[in-house]
């Protein structure tokens, strides 16, 4: 099997994950895009491990470590998502602009900020 087959699969999954993170509005769906990107990285690691016949199995071990880090990340991220839901009543990442850069602090919801008008 040519090495570039799994590498190409990984790049496609990574691109799809990037699209998911950028285009989705629900925070849980954004997290699914992150999971897709992490999986693409794992495919790369395992493919290089098999191609170079690594005696230390660095690729597979690092893939396992990535899975563990992804599990830790998803646990923390879902705790944050639930906290956001409790305080805001929604998890729409487009409407979460509490930390947005504003000119005047007394404006609670900048109307024109979406279209770039100040």
């Amino acid at each position: 099997m040519p090495l570039w087959w799994p590498l190409l699969l990984a790049s496609m999954l990574f691109g799809i994950g990037v699209y998911g993170v950028l285009a989705r509005r629900n925070a849980v769906l954004v997290l699914m895009g992150v999971e897709l990107m992490l999986n693409a990285v794992n495919i790369n690691l395992v493919a290089f491990d098999a191609a170079f016949r690594d005696v230390l199995h660095g690729g597979q071990t690092l893939a396992l470590f990535t899975i563990v880090i992804a599990a830790a990340e998803i646990g923390l991220a879902l705790a944050i998502v639930l906290l956001v839901f409790r305080s805001h009543g929604h998890i729409d990442v487009d409407r979460l602009r509490d930390l947005a850069d504003r000119d005047r602090l007394d404006l609670p919801e900048p109307r024109g900020a979406e279209r770039g008008v100040r």
């Binding site: 099997m1 950028l22 639930l82």
Partner: protein, 170 residues
């Protein structure tokens, strides 16, 4: 083309199509279920690439735990079960262009860089539980321990975050 290569192509086709459905479907719960299909076929790809233990860990942790966590989060945030047209931002086209650009750039780079390297799957040492356990606990013990501290920190962080409201009330 050998049967291993055919299985690999089939699994990667399933993975790509279901990943596209994950990021485009208008049902929230369907996205999580398509993610199961994607992660399962990626586990199959790991099996083809002789990473046996990684494949089963993928099934256990991703398909078993992560997707269940995602479904719980969808339920706890009162996700509607019907189709939702506004799940994607209005400017989805630039996002699609960026995603396509990333995929094409990475794909062209890896194809140009590793065009003539082949994976000899007959001579690869299969990463069984025995082999993986020996390598982790002989060569990679220190990163493993650091990782367990990271997991503990994530656990403590998740508990602190989920108890934040109780402390404010009381």
């Amino acid at each position: 083309m050998s049967w291993v290569e055919a299985i690999f192509l089939l699994l990667s086709g399933i993975a790509v199509v279901s990943a596209l459905l994950v990021v485009t479907t208008s049902h929230l719960v369907h996205a999580a279920l398509w993610l199961v299909v994607t992660l399962g076929s990626v586990a199959g790809v790991f099996l083809v690439l002789a990473a046996e233990f990684v494949a089963w860990v993928q099934v256990l942790i991703y398909v078993g735990a992560v997707v269940v966590l995602l479904l719980f989060a969808l339920m706890l945030t009162r996700a509607p079960t019907g189709p939702q047209p506004d799940l994607t931002v209005r400017r989805a086209v630039p996002a699609a262009v960026v995603g396509l650009l990333v995929a094409v750039l990475l794909g062209v780079t890896v194809v140009a860089g590793f065009q003539d390297v082949r994976i000899d799957l007959d001579r690869v040492v299969v990463g069984s539980a025995e082999v993986t356990g020996e390598t982790i606990f002989r060569r990679w013990v220190l990163p493993f321990e650091v990782l367990s501290v990271l997991l503990l920190a994530a656990l403590v962080g998740a508990i602190v975050l989920s108890r934040l409201r109780d402390r404010e009330d009381g």
